[in-house]
């Protein structure tokens, strides 16, 4: 067995184990950490496939940004896992059976014969000075510029939707508009009244 194949199987095994733990872990923080582990292993497999840029982006964006944020949210929300998991073990036999059946069917239909090495030979290894990042950049901004721009609009929609669904103007708060406060004039606040002096 070649060393690369060995690494692939190790990474694959860790990935499967971590993914399984994500859905079975009792503690949501553990589940999130296992998700981080599965992202790492997936990034390792991508590295073996010579997709260096994507592997680094996966670690940077998903592990570095998304999952850290996710962990914070999970910690802050204090989710009651017992209530969430109600019925997990009750439904597990049926769900597991259906999942197993689906997996077996898929493996039967798509055994190694369709995507094996004889059908789809591995591409020749790239030159040492071949830059993955450069190639992706070139097609992303030329050939795929249309979906790229559309994806930016998808993000815009997500932003508009998130803001409009969560932004609330609460009534009854003692919020003071700073610009009104700064531009307050003396004459708005103090009124000088001249009146005759009064005797006791």
């Amino acid at each position: 067995m070649e060393f690369k194949t060995f690494v692939f199987y190790v990474m694959g095994a860790i990935l499967l184990f971590a993914a399984l733990r994500v859905i079975t872990a009792r503690n949501p923080v553990h589940a999130a950490l296992f998700l981080v582990l599965s992202f790492f292993s997936a990034a390792g497999i991508w590295l073996l496939l010579e997709a260096e840029f994507l592997a680094i982006v996966l670690v940077l964006v998903y592990v570095g940004a998304v999952m850290v944020l996710f962990l914070f949210v999970v910690m802050m929300l204090d989710i009651n896992t017992e209530r969430l998991r109600q019925g997990f073990w009750k439904h597990l036999p049926v769900g597991g059976l259906v999942g197993l059946l689906l997996a077996v069917q898929m493996i039967l239909v798509l055994g190694g014969s369709y995507f094996g090495h004889d059908v789809m030979p591995a591409p020749p290894p790239a030159d040492p000075d071949y830059s993955n990042t450069r190639e992706i950049g070139l097609v992303l901004y030329t050939e795929y510029v249309y979906p790229f721009e559309l994806a930016s609009l998808v993000l815009l929609i997500a932003m508009v939707a998130a803001v409009t669904l969560t932004l609330r103007k609460r009534k009854g708060t003692r919020y003071i508009n700073p610009s009104e406060q700064v531009s307050a004039q003396r004459k708005d606040r103090v009124e000088l009244v001249s009146m005759p002096a009064e005797k006791e």
Binding site: T142, V145, Y146, L150, V160, A161, L165, R168
Partner: protein, 489 residues
């Protein structure tokens, strides 16, 4: 690497709508007090100008641009025009409803416009990637719009269901698409078709991918067994949003089916036709029978929508018979005609619900239509037209839509399927006629006069009369559908 700047001309309408969405967002940020009205009128103006741009750039030829990811053809242009009109009408009907429930924030109109853009991208896609992104643009906006009434727990629940099931469907669709790519080595529809034609694609992988793609497609069309979200979302969403979901997105989903199945996978039509037949039979049977039991009219119309989508599939599945493609054009144009007719009827029926609703009152039960004839005989007549048309009573547009689809089915040799569809429509006629009976023969429970802005009343009357008039003269619209398909296939 030599790069040619793509031809922007065929995509002029899409670019215009995208730019206008950004303009409206900025304008309503700074407009403060008049922001909502400004956003509404700008959105309507954008839809009208987009229609003008689409007509101006329409020349009946098939043009590809953006490295063949975008296709401009007559079918796309025709469907885009219909999408603009139905979105504009839906906005017009829904405006007062939203204002009564203080949901008329500028973001609503912004999301509507971005949803329209997503549908335009779907309709003009020639690539799996753009089709998917267009679909996500449309769906994401709709999820947010369903949850727009933040105070209502039912709306939030409907939005959650829609979102989770929609995400699952997107996952299935993407998995299927990756299989199609794996089998054919192309993500462009014409490339997929060529790879299958030259038999360089592995048919097992291809059919395997097709199953998953079909599941995603069935979810978006809302056909059995992927229909579970439809009644809950239709009932839970604010009626103005239900109106939006039940109209233009159906046209976009039809376009998606055409692009994927007919443009990309025409060579394996036998496979997807048998899958469609399964979906269509189940939808027509379950939709019509389950609708009988409903007392909530929004839920009833949801089940009737499932049955109507089954009829659209009947048209799509009778294109190729034993490798003979003579019927294809006729069958697909009948399906398109059915989709257009359904959108017209759907707009009008949800428009009627909005008309009868007012601040603090939802006319969402069939009982709320009791004695409508005494309250307003004109709108009772309109509802009669809509219900008769949906039931397929001659001579309304729904009758001709059903007739043309059934002709296609019979021509394809599926006599049993046609008989089943007719029997189920007869059963379905019961619940449509029940609404009519309640309107004319029951005493009104609520005698409040109907208050609605004049533009809604006029538009609803035009909509209802169009269903009647197009039923008398269906030839024009029918030949338009056929012509649009001839020029694009």
């Amino acid at each position: 690497m030599n790069f040619v700047v793509p031809d922007f001309y065929p995509a002029a309408a899409e670019i215009f709508v995208a730019v206008m969405a950004l303009v409206i967002m900025l304008a309503s940020t700074f407009a403060r007090r008049i922001a909502t009205a400004l956003a509404y009128y700008l959105t309507q103006a954008t839809l009208i100008v987009a229609a003008v741009v689409t007509v101006a750039t329409m020349d009946g030829q098939v043009m590809l641009t953006f490295s063949n990811m975008f296709v401009s053809d007559l079918m796309g242009d025709f469907l885009k025009l219909l999408i603009y009109f139905s979105v504009a009408i839906a906005l017009l009907y829904g405006r007062g409803y939203l204002a009564d429930r203080s949901m008329d924030r500028p973001e609503y109109y912004l999301l509507t416009l971005l949803m329209t853009l997503g549908m335009m991208v779907m309709v003009t896609s020639n690539h799996l990637l753009t089709l998917y992104i267009g679909l996500e643009m449309m769906s994401l906006s709709l999820y947010a719009m369903v949850a727009f009434d933040r105070e209502s727990a039912r709306s939030t629940e409907a939005a959650m269901k829609y979102f989770v099931l929609g995400a699952l469907a997107s996952g299935l669709l993407l998995y299927g698409m990756s299989m199609l790519y794996g089998a054919t080595g192309s993500m462009e529809f014409s490339g997929i078709a060529q790879a299958i034609y030259h038999q360089s694609a592995n048919s097992t992988v291809l059919v395997f991918g097709l199953v998953f793609v079909m599941a995603g497609l069935a979810f978006k069309l809302g056909v059995v067994p992927f229909h579970m979200w439809v009644p809950d979302v239709y009932q839970g969403a604010p009626t103005a949003v239900t109106l939006m979901i039940a109209s233009a997105p159906k046209l976009a989903a039809f376009a998606m089916a055409m692009r994927l199945l007919v443009y990309g996978l025409f060579e394996i039509a036998e496979h997807w036709q048998s899958m469609l037949m399964f979906l269509a039979v189940l939808s027509i049977v379950l939709g019509n029978i389950a609708a009988i039991a409903q007392t909530n009219i929004k839920r009833m119309l949801a089940y009737s929508g499932i049955a109507h989508m089954g009829f659209v599939l009947l048209g799509l599945l009778s294109g190729v018979v034993d490798g003979d493609r003579h019927f294809a054009l006729n069958a697909y144009s009948s399906a398109m005609f059915y989709a257009v007719a359904y959108v017209m009827m759907s707009l009008a029926s949800f428009g009627m619900i909005i008309l009868l609703s007012r601040a603090g009152f939802e006319a969402e039960n069939i009982d709320d239509f009791k004695g409508l004839n005494q309250r307003s005989s004109w709108f009772a007549l309109m509802m009669l037209i809509i219900m008769f048309s949906m039931a397929g009573v001659p001579f309304f547009i729904g009758f001709f839509a059903k007739l043309s689809v059934l002709q296609a089915v019979v021509a394809a040799g599926y006599i049993w399927l046609a008989v089943l569809a007719v029997v189920m429509s007869l059963i379905g006629a019961f619940y449509y006629l029940r609404v009519v009976k309640v309107m004319y023969f029951d005493a009104p429970e609520d005698s409040a006069p109907i208050h609605a802005p004049a533009d809604v009343k006029v538009m609803l009357s035009v909509n209802g009369l169009a269903i009647a008039v197009l039923g008398l003269l269906p030839q024009g619209l029918m030949s338009l559908c056929a012509y649009a398909l001839i020029a694009s296939l």
